[in-house]
Symmetry: C2
Subunit: 117 residues, 2 copies
DNA sequence: TGAACATATGAACAAATGCTCATATGAGCA
DNA sequence: TGCTCATATGAGCATTTGTTCATATGTTCA
């Protein structure tokens, strides 16, 4: 696929494009990066993750804390589970969720720093 | 609004919820955090930001690099502009975009680190 | 075993999103 | 001024997303 299909200009150097392309990270990797950020890009999930960074919690407590239905919280927890951002343990009828690792805390932290500017 | 509306359980302590609530970051802040991550949560925008972290580029070159229409790139650049993640300068007919600051580079970097696991 | 409860999940639906297409804007140049 | 080109933007549309509602699953306990 030639550049001409997208850009008909001559004087804008294709060499610049080619040079940058060699230094670009793999598209698949950048896609995974976007996937992670997409998961973090929802207020409910951010609040859940932040709450879990303070303390392990069960679904019911999270639901009360966030003032959201148990179903809504559960649906979001599934998304976080599938993305391996949280882990959980069952204790009788109650399921306790916590962050999968400190990496997540760091991600949230960097986001908070940026938002606090 | 009582917890009961969302959680009828007695033995799951409301004190835990109350205690965590006092330590929770402000909801408005967490909303802004989610907003930033939402913007980073799209492959096109991540690729644009990553490219700009390597070099200042014009719309046309970005379009060629990403093999996307000029219109699509321009639309995404507007979103990035509104979020103050990129800045731009005009040079004749050409508009050059670059990252607003190194904060953005750091955000992307942390995301890449996570995705590289 | 059967009732009660914490959690999970499927279907449905409204809202948000990202692209395309057509067109507008704005700058350089003949 | 009129033409060309780089960029911006509005409308339309298909897809994705987050919630609710209803219901299923799985565990405890009488």
């Amino acid at each position: 696929m030639s550049n001409d299909e997208f850009c008909e200009v001559q004087f804008i150097n294709g060499r610049v494009v080619a040079e940058v392309r060699t230094r670009m990270l793999d598209d698949g990797l950048l896609l995974r990066v976007a996937d992670i950020f997409k998961i973090l890009g929802d207020p409910t999930r951010v609040r859940i993750l932040h709450a879990l960074s303070l303390r392990e919690m069960c679904v019911c407590d999270l639901s009360a804390l966030l003032e959201m239905s148990q179903s809504a919280v559960s649906h979001q927890l599934r998304i976080l589970r599938n993305a391996r951002l949280v882990k959980y343990r069952r204790e009788g009828k109650v399921v306790y969720y916590s962050l999968a690792d400190e990496h997540i805390t760091k991600l949230i932290k960097v986001g908070v720093e940026h938002a606090s500017e």
